[in-house]
Amino acid sequence: MNHSSRVLRVVGSWILAAGLLGAAPLTQALEDKLVVVTSFPKDLTGAFKAAFEKKYPGVKVEMLKKKTTAGVKYLQETASNNTSDMFWASAPDAFEVLKGDGLLQKYQVKATGIPDMIGAYPINDPDGYYKGFAGAGYGIMWNERYIKAKKLPAPRDWSDLAKPVYHGHVGMSAPSRSGTTHLTVETLLQGQGWEKGWAEWKAIAGNFNTVTERSFGVPDGVNSGQFGLGVVIDFFGLSSQASGFPVDFVYPSVTTLVPANIAIVANAPHPEAAGAFIEFLMSLQGQELLLNPKIRRLPVRPDIYGKAPADFPNPFKDKSIGAAVKFDVVKSKNRYNLVNSLFDVMITYRLDDLRAATKAIQDAEAALSGKSNAEAQRLIDEAKALVGAVPVDEATALDPDFAAVFKKKRKKATDKVTGRQAEVEAEWDKLVKANYAKAKTLAEQAKSML
């Protein structure tokens, strides 16, 4: 670290400040600094930082990179003495958490030409705290070399991932680890219904190679060929492809477009610069940067798509992208932690058991195909039902008293909740483990009959 230059900078800023005070108030100048806490990769933040600093030469932009969860924690822990101006990340849920804690401030966007909705999702926070600047949808990416070497077909839809041919080839992150993955899981649950949605997720998860700890672990695994297919947010797939990896990406029919967001932190030390940054992000110039092959996000201004490459998806024109599900934000928020916990208990931590049961079922079904054996079919159906079973029904999951167990943050010392998360999870785990074991036995029994 260059301390002398830092001292110079500090002294310099005093002199500058003194000069400004003397000359004020000529124009309402921006502050000389802007601190942005962001989870976005350098390719994206670097491009915006450079362009913004070029437009406003007096402002120095600091991009503090923290993954979404760590960024939220950082803002929460530092709120008493806040030094950050903005929070800039994908998952709307993270912004909801900050909003709930009173850590964001409202801002009214001046730029015009931005519609209210992208796909079926409102672009901006209805309460006015955070703003969508780009759309993102979820889909499936795969490694061309991998599927060629293993002779696998290219997938089209979520249900394809549950096919036996993909056993052991699929990767995904856990919703508790990544806000974007949470949205993918929730979208399918809302699109297919609670019971059917979970059954489908478990059918897909039975084919998992791994559950990665970071959301970027999925494109990374597909890019390196560690596993063949991954459930990812579109820009991971599109930007990997643009970086030269032999991969491809598809939007399945049930997906939702969700805006990536930006917000000003409460008590931001540089509010004027923060406002200018939002305006820049929403401007034609800012939105066009999103088309950069290394960034590849869907702009929220429909007028930008004219400048996009031919194969670039346009959600404002192609209504099939992300329109199938009307995403219910309130529902998602109410069971947020519960869905995370259920996914981990049923899938992440019991992946080996789930895989073994799924494999047994797939083998039995393969043996059954072309033959007719009512008893074997019954056993297989029973095994499938056991694997698909969810320990809580939707009504219970949405019951605020029950969900409170997972909300652990008691707002006041006087708040009381009955039951403990660990207690509930231990019960689920017992049930799930027994179900998987029984399903495996049943499927093996069915196979032995054939």
Binding site: A70, R145, R177, Q226, R420, E423, A426
Partner: protein
């Protein structure tokens, strides 16, 4: 160790200062986070019900046994790797011994993220080795599957703890011991088994217990290999999710700390009641002998094979940093310098920060480590063991917990004159690194001190030297090998630490290299440049390690020369 020697308060004063440091920068911040473990999640009342929940959950019991199994197996595999390297280089006249000792430290310097990516590319189910095996023999070996992968990566990563401490101990054995044994007719394996190995025991146990504790608590490796059913990942996954202040994560942390202390206590017991110190010094370690030609060939074969394995992550990293696209193929598609060009402009600040932080942290560690070792083993102060337990307990604190604890404790403390919170001043990163790496330096210092005979100090004091003069002129110089070993391990590992750092970095200009690598490794296009930055980190720390080896060697020669001159006069 001048700070120690000049302190005016005597041993008790030093002990109190160290105690206060550990209290403020370890106990209080951790307590601020961990107290949740003892709180009823529903009412906030103090309770132990969370621990009951822990033992009632089959997942946690399974995680506990997995962690134990992985830690024990890693000690075994790491010993197999480290012992021949330590023995060959200290026992025989071996060209390039210094190179082996330096290369042997390199595995410790594995920057986050890139290491696992490199290992997967080489050893994964669809990595280079398995692609080749599949093509030639149609087989696939699950090197990296589940717990296997964790054991493989952990032993490759942490065996240097054993190598360094064992080599230091072997170098410290008095030649006279060996000569006496030989005069009494012992040789070969019997000499090794009955004399050399027992005398080197403190070093081996120091290294092995570090490996055990480190692996038991390690978070990064299982996470990067997506193995969740172990204790540390369970704690981390529960602590770091949004909105979760679930007590189980902290319960697991408490259990990690307790078990680590228990393991440490066991190693104390194992060492108790035995005498490892040798009185004479200056003989300069074991007798070295020349190898016969075929022996030499054999030794080289073993060494090269071992090095190939332990350096494989770095081989992978090198390929990754020079490669263009590497996807489902044995080697990258093409080679380029573009990755280095991309990072070169941004690195200088990261590098200076890393050297500054890791250097200061390691310095603090060896000073404190020496002081604590001396207080614990050579004074009769009441409660002195607690300094050791506390300092070592830092091993068991997940970096995230320490990071959050610091933010919680020091965010409202203003630094005088600077007008900013202590938690966002770069010095706090140094303190965090020092606290996290103190156990490494401490174990090395303890092992070194155990090999110094008390009689030497008594002699110095009988000759009229004060306690501090004795420590400064006799004890510390005799411990220098161990102290340097401690410095190197602390420095090298602090240079690539990420988990606490990432919580504490509050300005890009304060960020160290590991943070820079993290930033690059978040995008598909950043994998190559991230690997290039990782290579730069490895090279810098490697060079620093090599130089410090050279310094010790020169110091040794000078002392030997002085002794010879003094003898001649």
């Amino acid at each position: 160790m001048t700070t120690f020697a000049r302190t005016p308060f005597g041993p008790a004063g030093v002990a109190i200062l160290l105690g206060v440091f550990l209290l403020v920068f370890l106990v209080i911040p951790v307590a601020k986070v961990v107290f949740v473990a003892f709180q009823d999640p529903n009412t906030g009342a103090p309770t132990l019900v969370n621990f009951v929940d822990f033992f009632n959950t089959s997942l946690f019991r399974e995680s506990f046994f997995n962690s134990l199994y992985v830690a024990l197996m890693s000690v075994v595999v790491a010993s197999v790797i480290a012992m021949p390297l330590a023995y060959f280089t200290t026992r025989f006249n071996f060209n390039g011994a210094i190179l082996i000792q330096t290369l042997g430290v390199i595995p410790l310097i594995m920057p986050p993220f890139v290491g696992a990516v490199a290992m997967q590319l080489l050893f994964g189910t669809n990595g280079s080795i398995n692609l080749l095996l599949d093509e030639w023999f149609g087989i696939n070996i699950p090197f990296m599957e589940g717990l296997n992968g964790v054991i493989l990566v952990e032993s490759i990563h942490y065996f240097p703890f054993i190598l360094i401490n064992l080599s230091a101990a072997l170098n410290n054995i008095d030649r006279a011991m060996e000569e006496s044994a030989q005069n009494l007719g012992a040789s070969g394996l019997r000499l090794f088994r009955r004399i050399v190995f027992p005398l080197a025991m403190p070093g081996y146990v120091a290294g092995a217990s570090l490996v055990f504790l480190k692996v038991f608590d390690d978070l990064g490796t299982p996470l990067l290999l997506n193995v969740n059913n172990m204790l540390a990942p369970q704690a981390y996954l529960r602590i770091s999710s949004i909105g979760i202040s679930d007590p189980m994560g902290y319960v697991i942390s408490v259990i990690l700390v307790l078990f680590s202390l228990f393991a440490l206590w066991t190693s104390f017991l194992a060492m108790r009641g035995k005498e490892y110190a040798t009185v004479q010094k200056g003989g300069g370690g074991l007798m070295k002998r020349d190898l016969r030609v075929w022996e030499k060939a054999g030794a080289y074969a073993v060494v090269i094979f071992t090095l190939l394995i332990v350096l494989s992550p770095h081989i992978g990293l090198t390929l990754l940093s020079f490669g263009t696209i590497w996807s489902f193929s044995v080697l990258p598609d093409a080679y380029t310098l573009a990755n280095y060009q991309e990072v070169i402009g941004t690195t200088s600040e990261y590098i200076t920060n890393t050297m500054l932080y890791a250097g200061l942290a390691a310095l603090i560690d060896v000073v404190f480590g020496t002081a604590i070792a001396y207080l614990v083993w050579r004074t009769g102060l009441v409660g002195r063991q607690w300094l050791d337990y506390l300092a070592t307990g830092a091993l068991a604190i997940p970096g995230v917990v320490l990071g959050i604890g610091y933010l919680r404790t020091f965010y409202d403390v203003e630094v005088p004159f600077l007008d900013k919170p202590l938690a966002s001043w770069w010095v706090i990163i140094v303190v965090a690194l020092a606290v996290r790496r103190l156990p490494y330096a401490l174990r090395a210092c303890v092992a070194a001190l155990q090999q110094v005979a008390v009689a030497l100090e008594e002699a110095a004091e009988n000759l009229g030297a004060t306690k501090f003069r004795t420590v400064k002129r006799v004890v510390v110089p005799l411990m220098s090998g161990g102290i340097i070993a401690g410095f190197i391990t602390s420095f090298a590992t602090a240079a690539v630490e990420l988990s606490a750092t990432i919580m504490l970095v509050s300005a890009e200009s304060d960020a160290p290299l590991s943070y820079g690598i993290y930033v690059f490794m978040q995008s598909a296009a950043g994998r190559g440049p991230g690997a290039a930055l990782g290579m730069i980190a490895v090279i810098i720390v490697g060079v620093a390690t090599y130089l410090s080896h050279r310094v010790i060697e020169r110091g040794k020669r000078e002392r030997a020369l002085e002794a010879a001159l003094a003898g001649g006069v």
